[in-house]
């Protein structure tokens, strides 16, 4: 018998590691504990499930427990890890189905406990019609609410990506939707001037956006904020998530300034033979160099892969995150990468911010839409620090050029000369991203 790897958490960060380790090391025994019913699913798909772009909840599952078992990964659903003893090398496990607790020894441990929605501490927050959006269990609850109670008035608290996507999804189902955000604009990961374009688009499609209002209380049928009373049959929490590290902290694993588990470039935690990946970890930001918590499936998958390679005797590193995010809200495509103005200032960069208007296609084509690109570059060095894009179809994925440029440490001047694809249905002759780099360059001079 070879060594035993125990994986805690059956979503991307856990199962990408398990799959990678299995592929590389045939004699490793792998047990994966998942406290819910599903493995490896796309939580990012939940708004599309609610909005009708996806037919069944099962379609969001990338790989089922049965499929993992066929790969000789012993997945146990409805099994919750309740304690870890790093000295004894055991995990205490609660089998929820049979309400039975047992201990499981491990040689290697991989922690992928994910994140939990932040619940503002106000009266009524634990009411039956106040739902978070983090797990497929949450998705099932949302679908139940939508189908059985057909909420006519939905209030979304917070305006992150998933919150706004759900606002649109409930609007598409015919509900009247109000978004409450305590900051000056929706999407605090954007600068307010870019966020304002998103809230404009939402309002023009009939979604009410209330800014600068704090949630104060939730009653049945009513949300009270610092500025209004809002009718609401259903309250959706889009207030972000916090890394779920209670178990790992109790075991003695170190957490960092963001509250996430500290891992090195190989996804090793502070304890020998213990790895971690996904939303429970913090990452290094490749531009600022500081620790950040960016809960996204794409990172969970990559970190899981890296952990799996290292746990099975290989070598791989996760270099960090650029903070790239894209979404579509109403008629807007929205994207960001690197540092926003607030983040660049906090990190101590002296920068110039170039903001340009262009079009997604050659301007003379009927289908061309407007796009706004904002690009930040460091003064003196010219190094690109980040970018934000808001515009029509064909806007968002242009951010990938900047994300790649950030990974390479490119300057605005180097970006001006990038040989990006040009043809009338795809771009003006100067790609909007390059126009922004040119503008930054001229501001730097």
């Amino acid at each position: 018998m070879g060594e035993r790897l125990v994986v805690i958490g059956g979503d991307a960060g856990g199962m990408a590691a398990a799959a990678q380790a299995r592929r590389r090391q045939g004699d490793l025994e792998i047990v994966a504990l998942e406290m819910g019913r599903w493995t490896s699913y796309s939580a990012c798909g939940i708004p599309y499930l609610v909005g009708g772009g996806v037919d069944r909840i099962e379609e969001l599952v990338v790989r089922t427990p049965e499929q993992f078992r066929a790969m000789r990964i012993d997945v146990r659903i409805e099994h919750e890890a309740t304690a870890v003893d790093l000295d004894a090398r055991t995990v205490e496990v609660h089998n929820r189905t049979h309400d039975r607790t047992f201990k499981l020894g491990f040689d290697l441990l991989h922690v992928a406990t994910g994140a939990t929605p932040r619940r503002p501490d106000v009266p009524g927050i634990d009411g039956p019609h106040v739902l978070g959006v983090q797990t497929l269990g949450d998705a099932a609850n949302l679908l139940d609410e939508a189908a059985s109670r057909r909420p006519a008035h939905v209030c979304v608290v917070g305006s992150g990506y998933i919150g706004l996507e759900l606002a649109e999804a409930f609007r598409d189902r015919g509900a009247s939707v109000v978004v409450v955000e305590q900051g000056p604009e929706v999407m605090s990961s954007l600068d307010p001037d870019m966020g304002a374009m998103v809230s404009r688009a939402m309002r023009s499609e009939g979604i009410t956006v209330r800014l600068g209002e704090r949630l104060e209380a939730i009653e049945d049928g009513m949300v009270t904020t610092s500025g209004a009373e809002i009718a609401a049959d259903l309250v959706v929490l889009g207030t972000g998530v916090a890394p779920d590290t209670g178990l790992a902290q109790s075991a003695g694993l170190a957490t960092g300034p963001t509250g996430g588990l500290v891992v090195d470039r190989r996804q090793r935690t502070s304890a020998d033979g213990v790895y971690a990946a996904g939303d429970c970890c913090e990452s290094r930001h490749i531009v600022s160099g500081t620790a950040v918590h960016v809960p996204l499936g794409t990172h969970a998958n990559k970190q899981g892969r890296v952990a799996g390679i290292n746990m099975s005797g290989g070598y791989a590193t996760f270099p960090g995150v650029a903070g790239t995010a894209v979404t579509r809200i109403c008629a807007c495509e929205v994207a960001r990468t690197g540092l926003s103005e607030a983040e660049a200032t906090a990190a101590g960069f002296e920068y110039t911010a170039a903001r340009i208007e262009s079009s997604t296609q050659a301007g003379y084509l009927h289908d061309s839409s407007a796009v706004t690109v904002k690009l930040l570059a460091e003064v003196v060095s010219g190094r690109v620090l980040g970018a934000q894009i808001v515009g029509g179809p064909g806007s968002a994925k242009r951010i990938d050029v900047v994300a790649t440029a950030l990974a390479a440490g490119m300057t605005a001047e180097e970006m001006v000369h990038l040989d990006l694809g040009y043809a009338p249905p795809f771009s003006p002759v100067w790609d909007p991203v390059i126009v922004a780099a040119r503008q930054a360059l001229s501001q730097l001079r």
Copy 2:
């Protein structure tokens, strides 16, 4: 009076230089000679004009002669430069409107004479219904043919980007269209396995594609190839273009192995005070390091800008081209950058070619389409050498990530960790480009 700059050629390579020089040096006298009637236009837009995506020929004009004159650039249309005397510093100019020839002195000269369609040397090639597609004059002729004669049978000879775009445009106008290509597949800039996906898409939309056939003769109403006789009221030449360097060569400017003018990184030709930009020049390929001729408006604009900055006392360099190209043909988006297999072999690279199938969105969304990505990486170093993409909506511009990675000299491993935008409407959790990089990485090991 300051110095005088004479620009030969009123399209992108010429006028981007003129505009930049004007902006930077107010006392420079600038005279621009254009032998046709239009300045600064998008020849790439011609297929969309023919197909109906653009309403009027004038919409393809980015800036008119009047607009340039308002910037104090003395644009003279219907003026052809017929000779250059580098010692006397004069250009001989033929005013076509008044059939008058005169000499014009210059201190600085900028050559932007563009390219001319290659015309295969076969009987009938100079017939009245055999048209190239390079200038707006050609576009006017094509529109005239389409409107007045309403060709029922169109034969496109050659299968480059513009040829195939025009094949589709005439199909959209109701013509029966045959494409004749002498190579093994359409689009020789792609590897044949990727080109085959494009010809399949064209055939499935009713365009006849004849491969491995050489053009032998053109008669009125008929094209004869090495394999067939094809009814054709109109023949469109999509056989590529050659740099138009007759004038410059006569003056003694050096040309390179591609036939294009040799320029350095600052767009200086072999003669003092003489610059060049656009389709008449050759460029350095940033991956192979060799001289290439890539006639594209995006390069003409960038090179023109660089020449204009240098001519007006500034400093700018054009680092070269990656060979990026994108287009949409029938239901296919098509893209390529860097080296194809044939090019990588010719350049002496030992490489691995990874080819993967993925989807443009999260697979569970209704609108998701298939996409194929092929990525070449150098053995031992892991350096990415090039990529090709064929797929549904949202495929082509993904090539920009690889184009940016090529500019940075990234390896496949570095590409795997790029923080590309992920959300269900834009990408699976592993972006198709990253899936290809992963596949290349595993082949390299």
